[in-house]
Amino acid sequence: MSRLITRRNFLRSSAVAGSGLILAGCDQFNFLGDKTNSVRHVMEQANVLTYNVQRTLIGDQVLAREYSASEIRQGQRPNGSTDPSTPEYMFLKMQNFEPYRLTIKGMVEREVSFSLAELRNMPMRSQITRHDCVEGWSCIAKWTGTPLGPVLDMAGVKPQARFCVYHCYDNIQRTLSGDILYYESSDLVDAYHPQTILSYGLNDQVLPVSNGAPIRLRIERALGYKQPKYLHTIELVDDLTPFGKGKGGYWPDQGYDWYGGI
């Protein structure tokens, strides 16, 4: 009998000691938050693996699921920048975006730019899709716009181009040394995907400022941070390192995975 009690006491004290070890252990892994750490660099290779596996698995043309109109049960939740305060954007907003132009430049045969009216007169596509935020929430909405692929073809993408860099008007972060402007990038598979649109309509209304007016890119097989708002220039490049901190986007520069398909 005494042996049983001893064992029980042993169990109890072991459980307490064990949980204490786990609780004490966590700050020891804070070094993984350091973006220059070599262990972190190794771990980041898992994101490269994810990108390559998903690119192999999915195929270039496979669509993200589209939902029925009855699934639109709420407005599209705005997140991140919702009202940019750069002078360029505030001027455009004051002018009801009349002077707005979308520019395609970089590794293209000819630099082109389009007004909002020209973009709205191009072939359009509407899709009811699910917006998945990296934080974990989702929201279903109807997006209307012109597919990006044919627009890129009007500029003539040069063979050596590998990525699209999407430049935006919004000052996502304001620092003492000036505004940090939002930018993102994608490979050409995502840029030419049939559901990748330059959206100007949301839930059958004109795209509101809080959701990225006048033009927001939609890359439906990726997370929300790959859907840049307030887009003004698309630059075709073969290298992402010259932009921002060199990781291919504002959030990738903050330590998020560049691909964003997971």
Binding site: F29, G33, L57, I58, R65, Y259, G261
Partner: protein, 283 residues
Amino acid sequence: MSEANELPPGKGPLIYRQSIWTRVTHWTWAICLFFLLLTGLQIFNAHPALYIGQQSGFEFENAILEIGAVNTDAGPRGQTTIFGNSFDSTALGLGLSGTPERPTFTAFPGSVTIPGYRDLGTGRVVHFFFGWIFVATIMIWFVASFINGHIRRDIVPRPSDIAGVPRDIADHATLRFHHGRSYGPLQKLAYFGVFFILFPLIVLTGLTMSPGMDAAWPWLLDLFGGRQTARTIHFITMALLLGFFLIHIIMVLAAGPINELRSMITGWYRASPGTPTAEGDRP
């Protein structure tokens, strides 16, 4: 009189019970699940609510769990809401943790997240790294354990195991453990549940949260009832695995931690006295 009291005195044979595949995958999983749990809680903290359906309701209600903080007359308090029932969770560190001078408003406290401060990007990097290793280890285990007979011998319960469950429950309740050549009925059922239900479930619900995977395998959304339901199931499966881990540790301690640990390190396991010996056993 019970069988345990009639066993002959002395030691049972030392049997080679755990193959190298079982041992290596076991410890790899232990490391993976540690990091996956603590980075998973970090990721959960970015949006500390769980929902049922395709989308999270902001203008309608479909949350089944919310962890947050509320202001009261006595200052901020942690509040957890499950199926619409709210309770003060400050004492658990849920919603509010830290000291009154320096409160932290995260769902799960920094003491159980990696990193110990809010950093969703890093949490995801570490989570996906160990996610890949976890999945690779599962695949290695299934192939090896199918070939060497571990699944057939030790994991899949037979009719006799099912019939032996009541007896095994009684034995566990009185801390009488049989150290046999194979696993006992409850052990088989527990491991079967982990390998054939919880592990596939947590991997597939994890994949359902990836918009890229939802395009590749749209049946994932139908199987789990939407991205948000999958996220909820992922969380519940985590809690079940955590429960398994705690019982697992308690059982190891109760059944003789030295013998159990030795078998998971060297493969050699001391069976109960009276266990029939076989070729290859050591005295």
